[in-house]
């Protein structure tokens, strides 16, 4: 649905990060999950989470219907030694030009997964993907009105801070940013708001 100065769409802007692997994969996966959950509170609410494992496949454990309990998710990830992927979906909280909060349902997906699914002993970095299904943080969007500088100025700095905190606390290196159609609007450090 086109909403004024911004729009929604699957994976409009995606950030890829690589987290170097040290020690137990399950512990590291749990740690990265914890960092994301903790820092994402500033930008949204967790609405769905799932854990995929090598033995039980995709979405072996799921949490939905209301805000899932963070500790339960982290505990489950730690307990599954063959954990392969954690998927988190957030509703994004944003501020309008009038200062009133509005919510973009399912606006952000994050998933963290093993770099190699075939080799249990591989030390490939964990792959962290942060995927936005909205362009609300971009100064220029594909909404009906494309000038979104006002909303971007209010909301993008908080998102950029989230991105930076996740990167610093996980020790992740920056990978590709996929943002086709948003040239000059976004980079590895987030959205460019002047």
């Amino acid at each position: 649905m086109t909403t004024s100065t911004w729009t929604t769409g699957s994976g409009l802007v995606t950030f890829n990060l690589k987290i170097p692997q040290h020690g137990s994969l399950a512990v590291q996966l749990a740690n990265a999950t914890s960092i994301i959950l903790e820092n994402a509170r500033t930008i949204g609410n967790l609405t769905y989470a799932s854990l995929s494992t090598l033995s039980e496949g995709e979405d072996a454990v799921e949490w939905g219907a209301g805000e899932p309990e963070t500790k339960a998710i982290i505990r489950a990830v730690q307990e599954h030694t063959d954990a392969a992927r954690v998927e988190l979906t957030f509703d994004l909280r944003c501020r309008g030009a009038d200062g009133v909060e509005f919510v973009i349902a399912g606006g952000m997906d994050c998933w963290i997964e093993k770099g190699s699914l075939t080799d249990p002993n591989a030390t490939d970095p964990l792959e962290l993907t942060i995927s936005l299904d909205t362009d609300v943080y971009s100064p220029v969007t594909w909404g009906q009105e494309r000038d979104n500088r006002s909303l971007a100025a209010r909301n993008a700095p908080v998102f950029n801070q989230f991105l930076l905190a996740v990167r610093e606390r996980t020790g992740a290196s920056v990978g590709p940013v996929h943002a086709e159609g948003y040239a000059g609007q976004v980079g590895p450090d987030g959205f460019k708001v002047r």
Partner: protein
């Protein structure tokens, strides 16, 4: 899942048995079986034919037969949308008594043409249609991983100000490069053939969108939520590359004689299991399909990431179906990607080695890949 192994010799015989097994598992419609099944089937026949009455070889042949059945069953379960736990199933197979299992141990002829079936994932490009890439396939070798390389990339990021970006994005990058462009007349002609012999270059410009959209509607085979379609048209007119790519996909599907339903967008809804409801893009001839265009240079992450997102769109739609993802590489930057690049990334959406099949993305049954609307020429890979 869609694996197209091309068995020869022993593999052909094994494939025949596998097809019988698929019928027994209720998945007779799945005409290609997993390579793991072909491998075990081949090993079963090879061991059985060369056993010469030796009990230990007969036992091993029987086990290979059972392993093949397990592999077929897991592949069939994947086809039917079930979760895969191949490892446990294989353990059961390895520990089963083999006295009553068939081994053909009395057959004394060695197989001709070698024992192993081909295990590579075959991409089956045909002129006028996209290549099919197995969504569950063999894992990457270390050499393949090494060849992927690492690096940092940002899609088309240049330091432009807001005004520059607005002005640039209103024009598709290929608008001025003199490429052939589809016209209404061409589309009408294309309807005569489901498999066009001459590859057609699909390359819409924003200025062509209105006319092309009218032709699509006039085809009578584009149905569904026209509000969603009109939004796509408006964004394409404004020069959004992904919208132009989706319209090119619709053109191509219509040219191929397909019936298309544009699916509605559901906002702020939960599906039956309490997850935020997602919106798959289309039904093409009744099958859910996500169209994923890319115009920028392909990197080592986009395909994997995009198939993951497509899987989620279908998984959380509440429709309880498997679907298809179509990766459209369009334009001069994306078309430099090789099929091998795409294939590697699709492979890692499902892990598979001798012990484990981890069905990572079970809502995606087939991944297609096209290059400017046409199948990937194998020579490029």
């Amino acid at each position: 899942m869609f694996l197209a192994a091309t068995p020869t010799g022993v593999g052909q015989a094994a494939a025949a048995v596998i097809q019988l097994a698929l019928s027994a598992f209720g998945a007779a419609g799945m005409v290609e079986a997993g390579i793991e099944a072909i491998k075990h089937g081949g090993a079963w026949l090879t061991t059985a034919w060369t056993a010469h009455g030796k009990p230990e070889l007969i036992a091993e042949a029987s086990k290979e037969f059972l392993r093949m059945l397990v592999a077929v069953a897991v592949t069939a379960l994947g086809y039917l949308g079930a979760k895969g736990n191949y490892k446990n199933a294989l353990k059961i197979a390895n520990n089963m008594p083999t006295g009553s299992l068939p081994a053909f141990a009395t057959a004394g002829h060695a197989p001709s043409g070698g024992a192993g079936a081909r295990t590579g994932v075959a991409i089956g490009p045909s002129v006028g249609g996209p290549a099919v890439v197995g969504a569950a396939a063999v894992g990457l070798s270390d050499e393949e991983k090494a060849s992927l390389g690492k690096g940092q990339e940002v899609d088309g990021v240049h330091d432009k100000d807001v005004g520059e970006a607005r002005s640039t994005e209103r024009h598709d990058p290929r608008a001025a490069d003199g490429r052939e462009n589809s016209t209404l007349g061409e589309h009408a002609a294309q309807h005569q053939s489901a498999q066009p012999v001459v590859p057609k270059h699909y390359s819409l410009k924003p200025s062509d969108v209105e006319q092309a959209a009218q032709a699509m509607k006039a085809s009578g085979r584009l149905q569904g939520d026209m509000v969603v379609f009109d939004k796509l048209v408006e964004q394409a007119k404004a020069g959004q590359a992904r919208s132009l790519g989706e319209l090119e996909a619709i053109q191509r599907w219509l040219d191929n004689g397909s019936a298309i339903e544009v699916l509605p967008e559901h906002q702020n809804q939960l599906n039956a299991s309490g997850k935020p409801r997602t919106n798959p893009d289309y039904r093409v001839d009744g099958k859910l399909r996500e169209a994923k265009p890319r115009s920028d240079t392909l990197d080592n992450e986009w395909v994997k990431e995009t198939v993951t997102k497509a899987n989620k769109q279908i998984k959380n739609s509440g429709l309880s179906e498997q679907g298809e993802a179509e990766l459209q590489l369009r334009g001069p930057e994306a078309e430099h990607a090789t099929l091998a690049q795409v294939e590697r990334q699709v492979k890692v959406t499902s892990a598979h080695n001798s012990d484990v099949i981890f069905v990572v993305l079970r809502s995606i049954r087939t991944v297609y890949c096209s290059q400017n609307g046409n199948a990937y020429p194998t020579a490029r890979s």
